[in-house]
Symmetry: C2
Subunit: 281 residues, 2 copies
């Protein structure tokens, strides 16, 4: 497996593959890979001849008080894991390669970014949309793979890809969970054992909502309150948001009668975790 | 010559050319072609196997009180002119093809857009950067051609192309002028005969600055004042801006000792005209 550090080597690598008529898959990540990432890579490998995984902790999607500095980075470990599921090359650029001096262009997706994580993390989706546009233009993949765990991010990237006429297909892959239900995340690493137990309130909150729905509850405010109550029962958990929106347009709703995104952000200690479910009646 | 109205026919057209190994040139325009556009197309034809000219009056780059509604549109005339200089196809999409319902993604270039036309026309360069990104992604040209007449636009597009890693080369072509010096512009059409005469203050202002520079003047404020005085002598002309900036970074300057952009925007009647020169000592 090849490790590419510059845009020009990556372009050359891709150009060769394209000349051989190969279908190219891209899996953008920030590294510190877990089973969720590996699932994206397996899906990419199933569908494409060559798979490029990018590993880049993107500074523009972190706020000034967020965890950019302490975000875990371990390239050797990541390369081994990616290789084990058939990734062809890793694109691991230094920050200055992606944002050279004088850099000043950003991609803004409006409306769907003005809620959920877009409120808690101002500028986050601007950073995501910008770096993903750049990665798409550098690699020019046929398919790009993202996890459903970041539900709003997946919608933003699909919207941006359609709006800017980027010539590829965005594939969203279901969330991978630990045996006890916790959604896989590189940030789970930050959790102390008691926090790790407390973090189960997210997936249990989603299950509680599904159960209420199964029992016939259709009132969005009622379901939201059930989830809030469950999370508030956990002393280590602090709610950032618990929201229900029509899916995929993220319009507000009162009654659940179509696809509905239930999205949670909860802070456990210093660690902010997100999870979501798409409810269907 | 083919006229393409949809993104999918354009992609198919380009894909065929690419499969034949042809080099593709793009000339983005808003139509109502003049000799300046034809010069871009000739340059494209010299350098590329096939040339696509887009003709699209882009609503997102016009302000609410600007001339989007009355901007001249005459496709048949344009097609004939483009055909006469060897353009292979025209891409002329309806507005809904470029901005379908729910559209919400924009490209922002910061800093260099915060002066000159960026001040007079808020949102203008956001609209330009967005539509040009879309056109680049739809056509995927090897080269794209723009006129030096829109000096700040040329810088914005070069910056954006580099920052977003768009895989093409932007070529800037010198301004084409009428026999008496007036820079070619579709908006010259709006001018009544007396306004047409008054419009010569722009090019004469640029000449005045070059002459002062030749005579040894290096003080930017002095040169600016000479140009302002000359334009103020014309009763039909109202200055929007007269500015000198270091080129290409558009940093403020006191003394002229390297490449310097002298940029003018002047309103004659209801018609806002721009012109510029790159001064060199």
């Amino acid at each position: 497996m090849q490790i590419l550090h510059t845009i020009s080597e990556t372009r050359a690598f891709v150009r060769q593959a394209r000349a051989r008529g190969q279908v190219i898959g891209l899996v953008p990540t920030m590294g510190y890979l877990h089973e969720g990432h590996l699932e994206l890579m397996r899906r990419a490998k199933d569908q494409c001849d060559i798979v490029i995984a990018s590993i880049f902790v993107n500074p523009t999607q972190f706020g000034p008080n967020e965890d950019f500095g302490r975000y875990p980075r371990e390239l050797e470990r990541d390369a081994e894991m990616a290789g084990s599921v058939g990734v062809t090359a890793i694109f691991n650029p230094p920050v200055e390669e992606m944002y050279p001096p004088g850099y000043c262009t950003y991609v803004d997706v409006e409306r769907i970014t003005e809620k959920l994580c877009g409120v808690s993390r101002p500028g986050h989706f601007r950073g995501v949309a910008t770096v993903v546009t750049k990665l798409f233009n550098i690699v020019q993949p046929d398919y790009a793979f993202f996890g459903q765990k970041d539900a709003q991010q997946a919608l933003v990237i699909k919207r941006m890809t359609r709006d800017l006429n980027l010539d590829l297909e965005v594939v969203i892959v279901p969330t991978v969970r630990e045996h006890d239900g916790l959604a896989m995340s590189s940030r789970n690493l930050y959790l102390e054992p008691d926090q790790r137990r407390a973090a189960l309130v997210l997936s249990r909150g989603l299950e509680r909502a599904k159960q209420a729905l199964k029992e016939g509850e259709r009132n969005a405010a009622e379901i939201r309150q059930l989830v809030i109550n469950m999370i508030q029962d956990e002393p280590l958990a602090a709610i950032d948001y618990v929201e229900l929106y029509a899916y995929p347009d993220l319009e507000p709703l009162e009654r659940i009668d179509g696809l509905t995104l239930l999205a949670l952000a909860v802070t456990i200690g210093r660690t902010r975790l997100i999870d979501n479910a798409i409810l269907e009646v």
